[in-house]
């Protein structure tokens, strides 16, 4: 069947679908669906990590290989510092900016290094919103419970409690910086419903929530004159005789020179792993999402938690070809958009958690009920015109201007026609082990945001990432600043690297790859 005919089927079945609701699955049904179809359960994609803090634990081959990779830093590198600071923040996305601003506000001498430009990150792309329990019928406790259920009860309770309780004060902070959240007629913050949440809890700035927050945070970092190193990547950490973190070796991507930073505290805020294209999946992530913090922390002896679980966002583009992997906002489903297979049928409750919805899409496609694109990909329909039918003409224009534009560029009018989607690699559920202050088991090394693990369990709920970034950006920034006041200057060594290299040798590992990856190798050579 031609794509046009397939598309017409969505139009023809719309009215019939509108009158019916699709039940949510029971916990047992969800589990069996996920075990059968979710990419986290494809055994062939996994292998045990050979050595290091997580030796013997299983993760995807792409991550294991990077963790066992070789550092680009020579053992005899001259460690005379080019910079000496209280707090080194690595990463310029939401968590990095928040860390830097709070550390700066608490009197620390901060340096922010990022391998692209300030703000180039996944945060800037976050469209769906930020979960904060502000509604009068809602509470932080309910936010906690929803997140826990979404994460399959595997979330770290302490981290999660901190996040949900600090949410409202984060909203206040962002408002004070000038972030323009959507409002109700009475001036209160407007909240939208998100997948897996029992209450409307998403604060939004139309479908530009991340962009609006990042525009403001970047501007504030510049206003506060926080020293910046752009196009500079962290490639190794530094430690003292006790194994505490004392700085980092950076690499200037413009001239390939190493830069040595002595830092009393280091905050890694380098984001996730989408650009590793785990299991060959396309990704919604930005160019620099290569899991650098995992590697850096691992070599310094920090364990990772839940590093075998990843989020495949249900709605990645599959057509047109230019949008493959690009994120189609979850907001469409939040506002009632149906998922429709090649037979014109709904097949899942669209507001179920991301892992359930993704698994069900993969099931439809594997069992031959998907829709084939001209370039041979498979997907299912997301019925966008339904929103205008349901809530009145202009709904898409008003609530989803970014998405209307995203498709208009390729002559697809989402007001008139549905779009084709398939799961895309979106988020690293686990990450570096941290405590409630974002500190790792290695003294004076902090991790904030997606790079850290434990908070989201085995599946992150929509809207919890932006909050995670802001809460743990704040906590790490404040504690690192306070801590650095009482810390003396310490020695800079690569002793941990020496130990790591010796262990690699003992296990006969020579992966032949240099890590962290820093940027994906897309260039045709």
């Amino acid at each position: 069947m031609e794509l046009t005919d397939q598309r017409n089927l969505v139009h023809q079945t719309r009215d019939a679908r509108r009158s019916k609701s699709f039940p949510k699955l029971s916990p047992a049904e969800r589990d069996s669906l996920i075990k059968k179809y979710h990419p986290d359960h494809r055994a062939h994609a996994y292998r045990p990590i050979i050595f290091g803090p997580n030796a013997g634990e299983s993760t995807v081959t792409e991550v294991a290989t990077l963790l066992e990779g070789e550092s680009p830093v020579p053992a005899d590198l001259n460690l005379t510092p080019d910079y000496s600071v209280d707090v080194l923040v690595v990463g310029g996305g939401g968590a990095g900016c928040a860390s830097a601003l709070h550390a700066h506000a608490h009197g620390a001498n901060v340096l922010l290094a990022t391998k692209l430009r300030l703000g180039d990150s996944n945060s800037v792309m976050a469209q769906g919103g930020m979960q904060i329990a502000v509604g009068s019928d809602d509470s932080p406790v309910q936010h906690f419970l929803d997140t826990l259920k979404g994460g399959h009860m595997k979330n770290d309770h302490q981290l999660l409690k901190v996040m949900v309780e600090e949410g409202p004060s984060i909203a206040k902070w962002l408002l004070e910086l000038g972030v323009l959240f959507d409002r109700d007629a009475d001036g209160n913050l407007h909240v939208k419903k998100g997948g897996g949440s029992s209450k409307a809890r998403l604060l939004t700035c139309s479908d530009y929530t991340g962009l609006e927050i990042m525009r403001v945070l970047k501007d504030e970092v510049l206003n506060q004159k926080v020293p910046l190193l752009e196009f500079v990547a962290a490639v190794e950490l530094l430690s003292d005789a006790d194994g505490a973190c004392t700085g980092a070796v950076l690499k200037d991507l413009d001239n390939n020179r190493f830069i040595v930073v002595a830092a009393k505290t280091v905050i890694l805020a380098t984001g996730g792993i989408g650009r590793l294209h785990i299991q060959g999946f396309p990704t919604s992530n930005h160019f620099g999402a290569t899991g650098d913090a995992l590697v850096l922390a691992y070599r310094l002896g920090v364990p990772l938690v839940q590093i075998d679980t990843f989020q495949y966002h249900p709605s990645g583009g599959v057509y047109p070809e230019q949008l493959v992997g690009a994120l189609v906002t979850e907001g469409i489903r939040s506002e009632g958009g149906h998922l429709v297979n090649g037979k014109g049928e709904r097949f899942v409750n669209e507001l179920d958690t991301r892992d359930v919805v993704s698994s069900s899409i993969i099931r439809e496609c594997e069992e031959g009920r998907g829709v084939r694109t001209p370039s041979g990909r498979v997907g299912v329909w997301l019925d966008t015109p339904l929103l205008d039918v349901e809530h009145g003409p202009g709904t898409l224009d008003k609530h989803f201007p970014a998405m209307v534009r995203q498709y208009e560029r390729y002559q697809v009018d989402i007001r008139k026609d549905p779009v084709l989607i398939y799961p895309t690699l979106h988020y690293q559920n686990g990450g570096v082990k941290i405590d409630v202050n974002g500190e790792t088991p290695v003294a004076n090394l902090f991790v904030a945001g997606e790079a850290s693990g434990g908070l989201h369990g085995r599946n992150r709920l929509m809207g919890n990432s932006l909050l995670d970034l802001m809460v743990f950006g704040k906590r790490t920034g404040i504690l690192a600043a306070e801590r650095s006041k009482s810390l003396p200057k310490s020695s800079l060594t690569l002793d941990h690297l020496k130990r790591f290299r010796a262990e690699a040798k003992r296990h006969h590992v020579s992966a032949g790859i240099i890590s962290p990856m820093v940027l994906p190798a897309y260039t045709n050579k």
Partner: protein, 238 residues
């Protein structure tokens, strides 16, 4: 993609492996690249390492601001290279980083932000209405109108008009009055949020409730529950 696909689709797969090629000019040099890929992918395909000029790859960060021209058309247009497909005869170059001046300010300390605009960005009212900024905007924002709205103190309108702004900065190099409209708009939007927007009462109330330990009883109850009990419980509403 799963390997359980039916046979009749094989043809499609092969077609996708042998794409139609088009010729494009990248910074003045011709390359053959597959039709329909994005400009960024064309750069990679042509063997060019790109660091400056690639960011989110999703049309939100403005890193890949690009000038392009289609075959035989004298008009040079602007786009985000991650969100634009190549076509035969197209010619394009990245926009170099443009040294526009950003004013620095502490928004909370400003007494009269609408007046302060003229101190921070004295060039803002010097717009000569050439409209080049609006034409340069890859997000189709009416930039010129926005600058005037800012000058006349309608910060609310500016904040709404510029919600789509990805800060690519393509409006700045074309301005004959040396205005950086995106920076003016960012200032106006933030000032709107900080000085001219209601404080949400519900939020203050919630923060007070948390400070007062209002939810403590519920926390004490649920933190004692087993995973199975947690699955089936809801928080009491306040």
């Amino acid at each position: 993609m799963p390997d359980t696909l039916d046979k009749k689709n094989t043809l499609d797969q092969e077609e996708s492996l042998q794409p139609k090629m088009v010729t494009v000019e990248i910074e003045g040099k011709p390359f053959q690249v597959p039709a329909g890929i994005t400009l960024i992918k064309a750069l990679w395909y042509a063997g060019q390492d790109v660091i400056r000029g690639v960011g989110c790859l999703g049309g939100f960060c403005g890193a890949c601001a690009t000038y392009y021209r289609t075959k035989d058309d004298p008009k040079v247009k602007t786009c985000l290279a991650c969100s634009m497909a190549v076509e035969d005869g197209m010619s394009f170059s990245f926009m170099p980083a443009f040294p526009a001046r950003k004013a620095t300010y502490n928004l909370l300390e400003l007494k009269d932000p609408k007046q302060d605009l003229f101190t921070l960005y004295p060039e803002a009212p010097l717009c000569r209405n050439c409209n080049a900024c609006t034409e340069a905007c890859p997000q189709q924002i009416d930039v010129r109108e926005g600058v005037w709205k800012a000058v006349f103190g309608d910060f609310k309108a500016v904040s709404e008009m510029f919600m789509d702004c990805v800060m690519c900065g393509m409006c700045a190099p074309v301005c004959i009055a040396d205005i950086a409209p995106n920076l003016v708009a960012l200032y106006a939007s933030r000032a709107q949020g900080v000085h001219f927007t209601e404080k949400p009462e519900g939020l203050s109330k919630r923060i007070q409730e948390i400070t007062d330990g209002h939810f403590q009883q519920e926390w004490d109850r649920i933190l004692k529950l087993s995973d199975e009990e947690l699955q089936n419980t809801s928080a009491a509403t306040t």
